[in-house]
């Protein structure tokens, strides 16, 4: 029995156009020009209870518009949706008792007060029974390990500590669905992992349904089982994360700063003139690395070497081990491709297989690139 059902949901904004300058403002006032913008175009999907869904897409793709419609803040231009049996924009307040939203960039905790006081306030807002609330609060404090932070004003907490308190606050009223928007943004590696583990734990133990929006591939890989990719207001992909990983996340970028010259590791193919990795090592390892498919050289000049490695074809460790055996590595960064690139890849593949039409080149350029954390 799905708890979220979306069918043909779409939203068109009508915004007023105005030219720059005073003359522009004047003409806009006298004779307003309207421009319609399709933020969401006929989206359909369902979500079962206990699912952990990744809702991903570049900026301006229509993610926040869709979420606003599902939480009842925005009403759609057409289509239908049902969250926990409620029509969000018609029964917003009733629905609010059963859902929660957490924004990585906005805080629900009062800045000058300790989380304890915000929790008490939330208990009043959600009309929680006193003893139930206390039990729930103690449980969450234990699970999130925030006991020592409860009495410190929120402004004095680190980002990671605050995020855990935020999550705990959001779950006080035992929502069935929680919408997480960039929950790990700005956090260090350890804090990120902690948040991901907590989400996973709550999903496993309480059956909490999670609707996660993130630009961090790590969030998606580790926490979510299913991913919906949205771009230009449309669902581009709706598949298990495993497939997403297999098809699009397997490529890693390895950025190295070497002590020696990068060109020492490169050999040019005499016939095609293409560059490939070639590390002089004794024995069979040399053969493997040299002939390995899936290693693309992005940049090799001076001490810098940038590789793109398809981990499905060539696992990372041997390559890196070989490089490290060859000489001293001063610095190394391994990163996932940014979300925009994943989606671009998706599009290219889909266009190749004829699944999805490629948008205009102009529109593509508009999408801003955002670095992954």
């Amino acid at each position: 029995m799905p708890i979220i059902e979306v069918e043909g949901l779409y939203k068109t904004f009508r915004t007023r156009e105005r030219a720059a300058g005073f003359a522009g403002s004047l003409s806009a006032f006298i004779k307003p020009q309207y421009r319609a913008r399709q933020a969401v175009k006929s989206t359909s999907f369902t979500l079962e209870a206990g699912e952990v869904l990744a809702f991903i897409g570049p900026n301006g793709a229509g993610k926040s518009t869709t979420i606003k419609m599902l939480t009842g803040i925005l009403y759609p231009s057409g289509g239908r949706a049902s969250v926990l049996g409620f029509v969000p924009w018609e029964q917003r307040r009733k629905l609010a008792y059963h859902i929660a939203s957490v924004y990585g960039q906005k805080s629900q905790l009062w800045y000058h007060l300790p989380p304890q006081d915000t929790f008490n306030l939330l208990a009043r807002i959600y009309e929680l029974d006193e003893s139930e609330y206390r039990k729930r609060r103690d449980f969450l404090v234990e699970v999130f390990e925030i006991a020592e932070h409860m009495r410190t004003p929120a402004r004095k907490l680190s980002l990671g500590e605050r995020m855990r308190c935020e999550l705990a606050a959001a779950l006080l009223h035992k929502p069935s669905v929680v919408f997480l928007d960039e929950p790990t943004i700005g956090l260090d590696v350890i804090a990120k992992q902690r948040i991901r583990d907590l989400i996973g734990q709550l999903n496993a133990e309480e059956g909490l349904t999670v609707f996660l929006t993130s630009h961090d591939a790590g969030d998606i890989e580790q926490v979510c089982k299913r991913a919906i990719v949205i771009n230009h207001g449309e669902v581009v992909l709706d598949a298990p994360v495993a497939r997403l990983k297999h098809d699009y996340l397997r490529v890693k970028t390895v950025d190295l700063l070497l002590e020696g010259q990068a060109t020492e590791l490169i050999a040019s193919d005499s016939e095609s003139g293409q560059q490939r990795l070639s590390i002089q090592l004794p024995g069979s390892l040399h053969e493997e690395i040299t002939s390995a498919e899936g290693i693309k050289i992005l940049k090799a000049n001076g001490h810098g070497l940038k590789l793109e490695i398809d981990t499905a074809l060539s696992p990372l460790e041997p390559v890196i081990a070989a490089i490290m055996q060859h000489g001293h590595v001063i610095d190394m960064t391994i990163s996932d491709p940014p979300m925009e690139e994943i989606i671009a890849t998706m599009y290219r593949q889909a266009a190749r297989t004829g699944n999805v039409a490629l948008p205009d080149e102009e529109e593509r350029v508009e999408t801003p690139l955002e670095a992954t954390s």
């Binding site: 933020a39 926040s64 518009t65 803040i73 925005l74 009062w110 007060l113 807002i125």
Partner: protein, 267 residues
Amino acid sequence: MTLVRSCGSTLRFIGAYFVANLQAAMEYRVAFGVQILVMLGNDCLWLLFWWSYFQRFPLVNGWQQTDIVVIWAVSALAFGLGMAVCGNVPKMAQIVMTGGLDAYLGMPRNALLHLCIAATDPSAWGDVLFAIGAYLLLLHPGVLNLLIFLGSAVAGALIFISFMVIVGSLAFFLGNTDGLVQQLLNALITFSSYPMNLFTGGVRILLFTVLPAGFISFVPLQMLHHFTWPLLGALFGFTLLILLCAVGIFHLGLKRYESGNLLGMQN
């Protein structure tokens, strides 16, 4: 019974926010104290000034010496109470423009009420202290008059808040009206601080309708001179009317907000 329960729940909701707001203000005890004292001092300074003025140039037509104190005390208490409980209302235009309303819409409570009580104005407590102190010390009222005074101030507070909600709701339709809101509020406060004897004809009509200064200070003054039930009825009736207007206009604006087609709202 559910009506009683929901009333109780709403009162507890307002109470909880009131407490949280005070707690947040108390985090900076010294600054809080200073703000209260400064506002208290400011009000006393102005009262002293006007007291001296009306000593030298008393108005005729039934004007009593202490009337200026009453006018100032009632309007200060009304404003102070309003801003102490609903200190977030002046920021309404800004909140609407920056999409801050979403946070309140995501909660299971009435969005307008939630928006109003989400913050307090610490200096408002200075106004409250001043008003009560000035009234008690300079007028030595009896119990009945004290009750009338307090009741009028509560009505005045509701009028102030409703007025600001109406004006703030213009942001739903006209975009950035922050400056306008400020000035209209100043105008209301100004007109509430002067005797009605000064105004005639068209202006008086204005002061009992669009800019309800008359109901904030004049009607209570009359009731304190000589209480009549019709006066009370007029005050009560108008307060209810402006409250309903405020709620109505806000909800019209909210519909617009929820369509996402607000002026200047980018996605």
